[in-house]
């Protein structure tokens, strides 16, 4: 009897939940209608990113960063008299799910798209935005193909640019002559940077002594790669990977008594926030990042962000924040009004984006070219006493 009862209860629960889901669906068009009524003063920006799953930190940061920027702009009087409204949808960093998230935002009445957070999803959704002629600016989609269409712009550096910049930085500052690379061959981000780094390294007189790959399936044990790097006598280990894996590498290197300079790119940003990670291991780690929360110019942003969302902002949040400010500046320049249709808006924005210049968190005097690439200087930071010290 108990079993029957529990089964019944579970069934009722499921029913009420699905009913709830159905209810949401029904209210969505109503929202839409309300949106068109007040179309005179609302500009709707859609954001997608992984809000669930292993990459959730990036997606939430982008959603929060965009939200914070929109709030600030609204408080300062909005854009051309319009207030910005931001809505974030979960794309699970998946090229298939991002289409659903994007379509859902379109149903909501999105007029411009800030996304996607990750490269793979961004490339996939770009085909849809090109089809709809929807203006798209990706905060952190760094693969080359992300901005292949002319309606797409980005805030972060392209992968090859980061690889080239890293090699140049290491060469110019004479950090090391023998470099080992450990990279994730299953990630376009990582392999893209590595490829450009290897290309540039020979020009800078850097010798790549070990070039070791891992994949998403083997990202928990790096002893083989570290041993090879150590045997080859690497003075610097270049890690064009995300911070989660880097934290494991740092731990295992320290266990082996292997102590070269570690050098990462923007994916390394966030390493100090990894749970159960001894941050003293990251002392001396260098990374190429456009954003540091402790920098003078980003102090106010960091404080506001922590107050609003209870977490320290990372580079993804800063990218999204700059993306929304770029939209605001371009929209003002182009004289966008909320009653314009999406396609006309996109055409006007495309032209205006190349004419604006922004002093953002991720660079001063940022400008964009028609290909959608930003023009700003890469900055390197070193972790000293648990905080970033800009070099």
């Amino acid at each position: 009897m108990k079993k029957v009862l529990s089964l019944g209860l579970a069934a009722v629960m499921a029913m009420s939940l699905t009913a709830c889901g159905g209810g949401e669906e029904k209210t969505a068009p109503a929202d839409n209608a309300a949106g068109t009524e007040t179309a005179g003063d609302v500009l709707k920006l859609g954001v997608t990113g992984p809000l669930t799953g292993p990459n959730a930190a990036y997606g939430s940061a982008v959603a929060n960063g965009a939200d914070l920027a929109a709030k600030e702009i609204n408080a300062a009087g909005g854009v051309n008299g319009m207030t910005l409204e931001v809505k974030a949808e979960d794309d699970e960093a998946d090229p298939e799910k991002v289409i659903n998230a994007y379509n859902n935002l379109k149903d909501w009445g999105m007029q411009m798209f800030v996304g996607a957070t990750t490269s793979g999803a961004s490339i996939s959704v770009a085909a849809e935005t090109a089809n709809d002629n929807m203006f798209q600016i990706t905060p952190s989609g760094s693969a080359v193909e992300c901005v292949a269409n002319d309606n797409v712009f980005r805030v972060c550096f392209a992968d090859p640019d980061q690889g080239t910049a890293s090699a140049k930085y290491i060469g110019e500052n004479k950090l090391a002559a023998k470099v080992a690379i450990i990279y994730d061959s299953s990630s376009e981000y990582s392999s893209g940077i590595r490829e450009a780094f290897v290309k540039e390294a020979s020009n800078e007189g850097i010798e790549v002594v070990a070039d070791e790959a891992f994949t998403a399936d083997t990202n928990t044990d790096f002893s083989v790669q570290l041993d090879k790097a150590k045997e080859a006598g690497a003075e610097l280990v270049f890690l064009p990977i995300y911070y989660q894996e880097a934290s494991v590498i740092l731990k295992q290197a320290s266990d082996k008594g292997f102590d070269p300079i570690f050098f990462g790119c923007d994916g390394m940003d966030g390493i100090l926030t990894v749970e159960n990670f001894d941050t003293s291991l990251a002392e001396g780690l260098m990374l190429l990042t456009p954003f540091s929360p402790t920098e003078e110019s980003s102090k106010k942003f960091t404080e506001d962000y922590i107050e609003a969302y209870g977490a320290e902002p990372n580079q993804f949040a800063a990218d999204a924040y700059d993306a929304v400010y770029a939209i605001a500046a371009a929209a003002e320049k182009a004289g966008i009004t909320a009653d314009m249709d999406v396609s006309a808006m996109c055409d006007a924005m495309k032209a205006a984006m190349t004419e604006i210049s922004i002093d953002g968190l991720t660079g001063a005097g940022m400008t964009w070219n028609a290909a959608g690439e930003p023009n700003k200087d890469p900055k390197a930071a070193k972790i000293v006493n648990g905080v970033y010290e800009m070099q």
Binding site: K3, V4, L7, A10, A11, M13, A14, L17, T18, C20, G21, G22, G23, E24, E25, T27, A28, P29, L51, T52, E89, D90, E92, D94, P95, E96, I99, N100, A101, Y102, N103, N104, K106, D107, G120, I123, S124, A126, A127, E128, N131, A143, E145, S185, S186, S187, E188, S191, G192, R194, E195, V198, K199, T215, A216, D217
Partner: protein
């Protein structure tokens, strides 16, 4: 005679259901009543239905547990997308290229099905499941290290990176390792998807109700008895396995031509995907083709329709899945359903009596 009629009626209901869904969707689109989310989901729904129906052939009809279905889908997707990319200049018509890609995807996946099937089908039960699981992972990892480029001198192949392909100026990289193939034309439409679903159903349902299908099911029910009456077990097993793989290949080609970027990520072609397809099949009922269709549609739409619940949607999806499984297959739940139906029937009888 009677049973034949019954089969005909049952099959017609299945076909009718699909056609009805198609008409309904077309009407909604034409009258502008369909949300963008639903429009975007239409082709993926067809893909998952084809996958579920084809896997049901292996799991439900042949009775072998396969966890490598996403592997066959992956083979189909990449061979189809590769063909479309290579033939871009030779065959300018996207529709024709897509049609040929479907045939090629099905053929390549089918061949892989036979190649894998020959050694693997000697195994039974859990062993077969584990080997097919490994096969799916191998395919995914092989594609992840594969770099293929084309220039004026022909094709170049590497397992390291795009630099080592050594392409000249005219060269284009076709498969870029873990980044896969980008820039496949979006040729898949809902109508093509539904036609492929109907084709899949036609193949599978006809197979089940044929002499061959009965031979396959006899292997499932009692292998020794089947062997003793002279049924060639290897032949029929391979046949079912290869057809199932080829249909998964078709779904893969459809998948590749619905998204502009195709990468063999663990999420899209890993064992998670294989297990998800298996969930469709088990939830819909082993050997129940119509059940597979319904389960695939419901479970694909559910997480999207729950979007309003934000972060909780994945949790709720899991809970709903568990409840549906229990409701469908637990003996107690089946008993309860029977009692409930009985009561309903009694009520109806009593009311008709009263009315009389």
């Amino acid at each position: 005679m009677k049973s034949k009629n019954k089969i005909l009626v049952q099959n017609s209901i299945t076909y009718g259901l699909v056609i009805l869904c198609w008409i309904l969707a077309e009407v909604l689109i034409r009258t502008g009543n369909m949300s963008s989310l639903m429009k975007g989901l239409l082709v993926p729904l067809c893909i998952y239905v084809i996958l579920a129906v084809s896997l049901n052939l292996t799991v439900g009809i042949l009775g072998e547990l396969s966890l490598g279905h996403a592997g066959f889908m992956c083979v189909g997707a990449f061979s189809g997308a590769f063909f479309t990319k290579v033939m871009e200049t030779v065959i300018p018509s996207v529709g024709l290229r897509f049609f040929l890609a479907l045939l090629i995807g099905a053929a390549v996946a089918g061949i892989f099905g036979i190649l894998i099937g020959i050694p693997v089908l000697r195994l039974k039960g859990d062993y077969l499941a584990i080997v097919t699981l490994a096969f799916g992972e191998i395919i995914k990892n092989l594609i992840n290290v594969m770099y293929v480029g084309k220039d004026s001198t022909g094709f170049h192949f590497s397992t390291k990176d795009t630099l080592s392909l050594g392409l000249d100026e005219s060269g284009v990289v076709l498969i870029k390792g873990a980044q896969g193939i980008t820039g496949t034309p979006k040729a898949a439409t809902f109508t093509i998807g539904v036609l492929l679903v109907l084709l899949t159903l036609f193949i599978v349902l006809n197979l089940i109700n044929s002499r061959t299908g009965r031979a396959i099911m006899s292997i499932r029910d009692n292998r020794i008895a089947a062997e003793s009456i002279g049924i060639n077990i290897t032949k029929y097993k391979l046949m079912a396995f290869a057809i199932s793989a080829a249909l998964a290949g078709v779904a893969g080609v459809l998948y590749a031509h619905n998204l502009s970027s195709l990468a063999a990520t663990p999420k899209s072609f890993g064992y998670n995907m294989s297990i998800m397809i298996l969930v469709f099949v088990v939830l819909g009922g082993l050997g129940n083709i119509r059940g597979s269709i319904i389960a695939a549609v419901v479970l694909t739409m559910l997480p999207e329709l729950l979007r309003g619940l934000n972060d909780y949607r994945m949790l709720i999806y899991a809970v709903v899945l568990i409840v549906m499984m229990i409701f469908n297959s637990s003996p107690k739940a089946i008993e309860m359903r029977a009692v409930f139906m009985e009561k309903l029937r009694k009520n109806r009888k009593s009311t008709t009596k009263e009315a009389a």
